[in-house]
Symmetry: C3
Subunit: 302 residues, 3 copies
């Protein structure tokens, strides 16, 4: 694996092996401390959650990070993404973690000699988010075959929904969708659409999406309360879920909209576990992409 | 000590022991280097001085820090302080240092499983600031009993004034006040009020407060020069101080207002020593709150 | 060397020895890892490139850095540069790297007890930029004597142009200039001025300056295309350069203005090598100024 731009950079065996390694990081009996790389995190749009998660992964691996403040950067002097990235390569960065509002921004970076890890490209991909979702499901069920995953919310504008659906189907899961009809995608077949009442009864994994009011006008025409009542996971609906089924959400949660406030930390919720898993998959990705040669410096680390 | 929200979290013996430990850090013969924690510093209002001081303390202890840029954060997407803090817990932070404009913000954080160190809550407390003041006095006099401390300036709006007065009295010191009458508090008794001319002659410790023009309209109606002349520490007044008495100020100083420019680095001034002590008390607090198990990795550190 | 404010802080032998040491860092067979200092980087005007380069140098030396965000700082409360610097000294910083819009800002800092490294002072100096240019030339030709260096562009407003010219002449090089006549300086003699067509044929080192549209109104009255055609390094002009001659540029490059897009990474271009050398000279400067006592902790570092 030379870069991680989309999940298509991974074969299925590579993906499985990455998840296994991430799961070992999650177990964390004897963490390994690497100390031979400086990585730059370039966030051209705000994403505290993802940035903190990458930073934590880097720190736990002993990787030094360069703080690149986009708002202060030469980008403001009109420098291209390629020239900025090439500069960071020149000064000795061993890899770049990039989030950028432009879809497939990484296609501008083919001349780079250091790897790029995609931390989100516009309406495109966010591969480490997908990986953390997969790890969370794997930890729960230890399989993907014949699991029923229902993705709920704004499918049309979610970069993760499409990637997750595609990879989950490849891995043998059944994927359905729920949410306001105007937020469904052309690609969704009629028999893949479920009402929320059907979804809670059928899903092994209820994957709620965030209402991304930043990315588009909320054209749903529903108030928060009405949305919650019709399309959200209410307390009553949770009671009708299958005994073993779990709730996922990429966070930040709009409490009382996508799901009831009281359910955010309920026994079915894997929302904070997903965040913890985000660090683990990013550690696995960084170790692979940077081809780090581990060295156990401390027995107990960070 | 599980958290440090206010000095009330400490018994008097705990406080004494913390000061002793901080004083050992100040001596610094054989510093111990810890390397097993990542802490997030969350500053929801600007405070370079306090933030740098915590960062220095963390670095000197070998603690890694997560840079949390509030202006870029999910907070802007409406995320609650609790959800932000819970996220940082989920991704592996071992503690949070928080400054927040809301008084007693920490009451929202009772569901957290990691400790919180209060770096200032609105008009409430700023316990590490009080601790560094106490350490500075202890280093000077090696006692608090029967010392006369005069706190000068805007008592009403100072979070540190009230905390310091309370703890100093508990420790056996006598506390008086000086400054414009409209900046005095209801709690101040008549015989506790001194004019600046009385204050300089009676004080062992002259604790000047910063005129916080950020926090309220300067309703004093005095020009800088008039304030300095009437309520400030002028060069002439300094000459009338007792031989052993010292000057303290939390900084940044308004030179020529609270005290004469030439006195900022005079022999009585402990202003820069207070800053150095800020690092030492924060190291002691972090070591206690995080329950760090020290390990001497290097003989000479940082 | 106590500070590095301008190149005048260095004798010629000191400068030669610094370049030799930087060149050893560039070779980097057995890097040494220092771990005994915290340095603060104070950037009062944006300069991602320089800041990242200093940070990389610091990380590669094992120096911890304090992130000082000027936009959040007490500077906004009216604190003087001296008081800010003195605070950082008080809390334990072992040195300051400062970029400031005011020319000779460092003259305000004479009361400091820790060294200052100038990362650019207004229209004044930028000594580490000059050093990296010198290192790049030294690596190429292993001498300065009788080299012909032509500096091209906005001489009048470039802090580096004047410093480089002065030191290059001291070291035995011949310096000429090219560019729009209104951007030439009074100090330039008539026989030092070359047209761009003359420059490409005579130069051993063609040192292109960036058109700094931030610092002054582009009064040249030329469109980008016209500037490039008349004063820039076009593809055709590059063909007429001497076989061994090289192209330098401090970056960021305005592609298609100072030089043709296709030449930025051509065989003559040392632009990205200059960036790499920036890290090496800054490591040498930091090691000298901070008087670091090296300790080889890891065999392979960063």
């Amino acid at each position: 694996m030379r870069n991680l731009r989309t999940l298509d950079d991974l074969t299925l065996p590579e993906l499985q092996s990455l998840l296994t390694e991430a799961d070992e990081f999650a177990g964390d009996a004897a963490p390994v401390f690497y100390h031979n790389a400086v990585v730059a995190n370039l966030f051209f749009e705000p994403s505290t959650r993802t940035k903190c998660s990458f930073e934590m992964a880097e720190k736990q691996l002993g990787i030094e990070t360069l703080s690149f403040e986009v708002s202060h950067s030469s980008v403001k002097k009109g420098e291209s993404l390629y020239d900025t990235a090439k500069t960071l390569e020149a000064i000795g960065c061993k890899g770049l973690v990039i989030r950028h509002p432009e879809t497939k921004y990484y296609e501008q970076l083919k001349g780079l000699n250091i790897p790029v890890i995609n931390a989100g490209d516009g309406a495109g991909d966010h591969p480490t988010q997908s990986l953390l979702d997969l790890l969370t499901i794997k930890q729960e069920f230890n399989r993907f075959e014949s699991l029923h995953v229902v993705i709920c919310g704004d499918i049309r504008h979610s970069r993760v929904a499409h990637t997750n659906a595609k990879i989950l189907e490849k891995l043998g899961a059944q994927v359905s969708y729920s949410g306001p009809s105007e937020w469904m995608d052309e690609s969704i077949k009629d028999d893949q659409y479920l009402t929320m009442d059907q979804a809670v009864e059928q899903a092994d994994v209820l994957m709620l999406l965030r209402i991304q009011t930043e990315r588009h006008d909320n054209g749903s025409g529903y108030s928060k309360e009405a949305y919650h009542h019709r399309f959200g996971l209410t307390e009553n609906r949770e009671l009708r879920m299958k005994p073993h089924s779990i709730i996922m959400h990429p966070a930040p949660v709009n409490r009382g909209v996508e799901l009831a406030d009281s359910l955010v930390e309920c026994r079915r919720s894997r929302i904070f576990k997903q965040m913890a898993n985000g660090v683990h998959v990013r550690k696995a990705v960084l170790a692979h992409v940077l081809n780090l040669k581990g060295e156990k410096i401390y027995d107990h680390v960070i």
